[in-house]
Amino acid sequence: MKARIHVTLKQGVLDPQGKAISHTLEALGFEGVEKVRQGNFIEIELTETDEQRAGEQVEQMCQKLLANMVIENYDFKLVS
């Protein structure tokens, strides 16, 4: 089973990288870019085959290491 995890900055946390990307998109001529937020995408291959147990495991991974809960949110999908 695979876990596909997105870690993103919480609302209200300044994202200078997102801003820089937004400016560059504008400079390239892309119109209508309102806001860019940059985050991390992490893919983990798990040996666990039970969806509920895998979910609990990934939840723990996110809280203990993959996201810094002071500034980041996470969400994930399990795919078999």
Binding site: V13, L14, P16, Q17, N40, K64, N68, V70, I71
Partner: protein, 229 residues
Amino acid sequence: MKASIIVFPASNCDRDVAVALNEVTGKAPHMVWHGDADLPSSDLIVLPGGFSYGDYLRSGALAARSPVMNAVIERAKAGVPVLGICNGFQVLTESGLLPGVLLRNAGLKFICKDVHLTIERDDTLYSSDYKDNKVIKVPVAHHDGNYFADDDTIRQLEDDNRVAFRYCDQQGNASSEANINGSRNNIAGIYDESTRILGMMPHPERMIAPELGGNDGLPLFRSILDTLH
């Protein structure tokens, strides 16, 4: 005074701190490898600057979960002073010993230069020798030094007088122009509740002799010795 310096893969200021501590205390500190679960009995623990684990995932995130950090956290909670400089400050926030987080510099650039700092209080383990200096000059060298915490945490830090240093101009004004990296309230360093844990982005260990450009960093190490000797 027995000091231990924790060495992570890609720490690069560990030896600078060792030189500074040796200079002040006359004793060579223990160099403790991150993979060691044993931490020698220490009066002071230093988490040095560098780019531990290549700053992968987030600066300090992987170092904060390395085996030796369990012992560091345990000792810190028992009252052993812990000083985190630059990457060491990032490790302290990632491990939860200090609040907040160090974000990418607001200007997105790595900043390597001498900066001025206000000494916010001169009554702690790390600052008692700064009675005559209200403004000091020390270098910074970081990409992720932009101190961030939510409004409540910032208010708490300010109310409890736990800001150690602020970025300022030569005259000591903590202006927005002097705020090199976008840190909230110009914060360059903070204490924990007991003031025995200090995290700071600037490098006092790189300013300990006139040949290095000044010795404004020396009183920090002397303060520790004066209190702990």
